[in-house]
């Protein structure tokens, strides 16, 4: 009998084209997702070298980072000239090289990491890459998925492979069950808070444990999405019945006899008993609270019941970094997190822009209004998520609460389009990065779950959503 393997080992082994003596491998890529920001130079490189796309049928392109999210975008004009040029370049490249494409005016358009799973392009056991670090999202299906740079985008376009060395195996186990009001976002932020933004560097994380099994596919995508914020290029969750159920019937999922054959293989995709992990982190599900970030690194995570820390609470290089963060965020040590007032609420992104996220936020907002002076924006992750939400009447709840109901795209998660924070504005955001300037020059970001962002919208300050839930229960 062969040695026990991790899930990562199994997917890796199934995709090695060749291996050199020093362990450098050529890894076959099953799905290549492409967006407008990190691909133009890669397509240009192909053109200059007279190369073709090796497997256009395995390449899927969609504009998301730059696109406006206002409803008038259907008229087709992007006002920002540079953004327009990038989107037009993708239109042209998709056509010229013959890859699958969802243009801006297609209802299936959306954030590339939401579109892939939605259309059934992402399947268990696959290798998936994209010129975007949040490609880790697809790991929720038990697919080995990670971000790559533009040179590697060109390499995959030309050869359908990547030159890689194997990463180490890291296990993150969330035992037991989550308490009410605690979400997948709180899991993933809490893990980063515990391990740091460099904790997963050089590793592929497998998330496991009862609390992970309990999550829906949407929740699992939220968890894997932020593996990169913990330093790991990829996060994985072993596929199970929930995964198969989610995949079945999607446009590009296998059908008939192929479905049965696929299912047989997918059911072997789990970590064998006794397989080796180089690093293990275990967190009790019951110990996780609703969390928010206070600083400018995703590791700056605290339970909502906490207070803003002082630089002296840290050691090493983090002391200076914390000083800089507090200054940037305009926060004083000792301030209760729930006393922090906000100006803007952003609900969306590849982390939390799926239907379940919108349902969760709407649940909190139903029958409530946004606090005076707060600006709120809901940006569905895809045109289909938007349509589904409208069918369920969620758009009405958001509009009645005072939110803007937008078209699909990356929007204020990275603020490459006009959806940006003004200088000094503070945002309760369901996105994935709170870096300096991320949501706009001198903008201040607090990361949290959709429920928590909705709660902050209602009160105008960071809020423990559980208090609102208790009111409902009473």
């Amino acid at each position: 009998m062969s040695a026990p393997k991790t899930l990562y080992d199994k997917i890796w082994d199934a995709h090695v084209v060749s291996e050199d003596e020093d362990g450098t491998c050529l890894l076959y890529i099953d799905r290549h997702l492409v967006h407008e920001v990190t691909s133009p130079q890669a397509f240009e490189g192909l053109r200059m070298a007279g190369r073709k796309v090796h497997a256009p049928e395995k390449t899927i392109a969609v504009p998301d980072h730059n696109v406006p999210t206002t409803t008038d975008r259907a008229s087709g004009v992007i006002e920002n000239e540079e953004s327009r040029i990038q989107v037009e370049a993708l239109d042209k490249n998709a056509k010229e090289f013959g890859v699958n494409y969802y243009p801006v005016n297609d209802v299936r358009q959306g954030i590339v990491h939401i579109v892939g799973p939605e259309q059934g392009w992402t399947l268990p056991g696959m290798t998936v890459v994209c010129g975007d670090s949040h490609t880790a999202t697809h790991g929720a299906f038990g697919a080995l998925a990670h971000g790559i740079g533009t040179s590697e985008v060109e390499h995959v376009l030309a050869t359908q492979t990547l030159i890689q060395k194997k990463s180490k195996n890291m296990k993150v186990e969330i035992t037991g069950h989550l308490r009410p009001g605690v979400t997948a976002k709180d899991i993933t932020l809490s893990v980063i808070g515990a391990t740091g933004t460099g904790g997963g560097t050089g590793h592929v994380i497998e998330y496991c444990g009862e609390a992970i099994r309990d999550l829906s596919m949407e929740g699992r995508m939220t968890v894997c999405n932020m593996a990169i914020e913990g330093g790991a290029r990829a996060g994985l969750i072993a596929p199970d019945e929930k995964t198969f159920e989610y995949v079945k019937g999607r446009a590009h999922a296998p059908k008939g006899a192929q479905w049965e054959a696929a299912l047989n293989w997918w059911k072997t995709l789990y970590t064998d008993e006794g397989a080796h992990f180089d690093k293990v982190v275990t967190i009790k599900g019951e110990d996780i609270e609703p969390v928010v970030t206070w600083g400018t690194s995703p590791e700056d995570v605290l339970p909502i019941s906490g207070v803003v820390p002082a630089p002296e609470d840290f050691t090493g290089g983090k002391v200076e970094a914390a000083k800089r963060s507090l200054d940037y965020m305009g926060l004083k040590p000792g301030t209760k997190l729930t006393d922090i007032k906000i100006d803007v609420v952003f609900i969306g992104s590849c982390t939390n822009g799926r239907i379940e996220d919108l349902r969760a936020a709407a649940e909190v907002l139903k029958g409530r209004k946004m606090a005076p002076g707060v600006r709120g924006m809901v940006v569905p992750g895809s045109g289909l998520v938007r349509a589904q939400a409208e069918e369920e009447g969620l758009d009405k709840i958001f509009l009645d609460a005072g939110f803007e109901w937008r078209m699909a795209g990356c929007s204020m998660c990275l603020a490459m389009n006009p959806d940006q924070l003004a200088e000094g504005e503070r945002c309760a955001s369901t996105s994935n990065r709170n870096f300096e300037g991320r949501q706009g020059y001198k903008g201040r970001t607090h990361l949290m779950s959709p429920q928590m962002a909705a709660a902050a919208a209602v009160t105008g300050h960071l809020t423990d959503v559980r208090e609102m839930m208790e009111l409902e229960d009473a």
Binding site: D22, K58, G198, G317, K318, E423
Partner: protein
């Protein structure tokens, strides 16, 4: 790609930990469809005020570091997004070598693809190089990839590790795609085999 030669130059100290790719090149500059010309925007929001004036305190604006070709950086350099615009901006500025206790994986890989050498060293050695860098423009370091050693301005040498394949590609200025296309037969064979085993892909 240009061959990586031995680098002798000024090293700039950037001790801040977790310098992310949004700091290295803010999103406003990702709208380019070219690889070149980003050097002037490297560290844009740390380097310039809103009016475009240089912020004198920022290390690369100080007279002694304007010509830096080496960065000595805090832990977890290049964390965040996969944007290759970050190494493009640094390379275009003139940076050839970055030394830190750790790098984010994607940034680390992207650097090699652009003729830049990221070097990982233990904390004590990074501290020593940081002190040397703080001396300014008279303190020139030498980074010798062939022999895998850094020589400080004081003549002290520090050995470093580098992946043999990545080293070879840098020294020879090799194009990855060309190398891989030479293995086209192996890729075809894999595809034929995979089409049998996993026809649904």
């Amino acid at each position: 790609m240009e061959k990586f030669e031995k680098v002798t130059g000024i090293a700039a100290p950037m001790p801040l930990v977790n310098i992310d790719t949004d700091m290295i090149i803010p999103k406003g500059f990702l709208k380019t469809i070219k690889r070149t010309g980003l050097g002037v925007h490297a560290f844009d929001e740390m380097r310039y005020d809103r009016q475009g004036n240089e912020i004198p305190d920022f290390v690369l604006n100080k007279p002694q570091y304007r010509e830096a070709s080496i960065l000595i950086a805090g832990d977890n350099f290049g964390c965040g997004s996969s944007r290759e615009h970050a190494p493009w901006a640094l390379a275009d500025f003139g940076i050839k070598v970055i030394v830190s206790t750790s790098f984010a994986d994607i940034f680390y890989n992207n650097s090699f693809k652009n003729g830049m050498l990221p070097i990982v060293l233990p904390q004590e050695q990074v501290d020593l190089l940081m002190k040397d860098a703080e001396k300014g423009s008279n303190a020139r370091m030498t980074v010798d990839l062939e022999n895998q050693e850094i020589t400080t301005s004081e003549g002290e040498t520090i050995k470093f590790d580098v992946d043999p394949f990545k080293k070879h590609c840098l020294l020879e200025g090799l194009d990855d795609i060309g190398l891989t296309l030479a293995k086209a037969a192996a890729i075809d064979a894999f595809e034929a085999k995979a089409a049998q085993a996993r026809p649904w892909v």
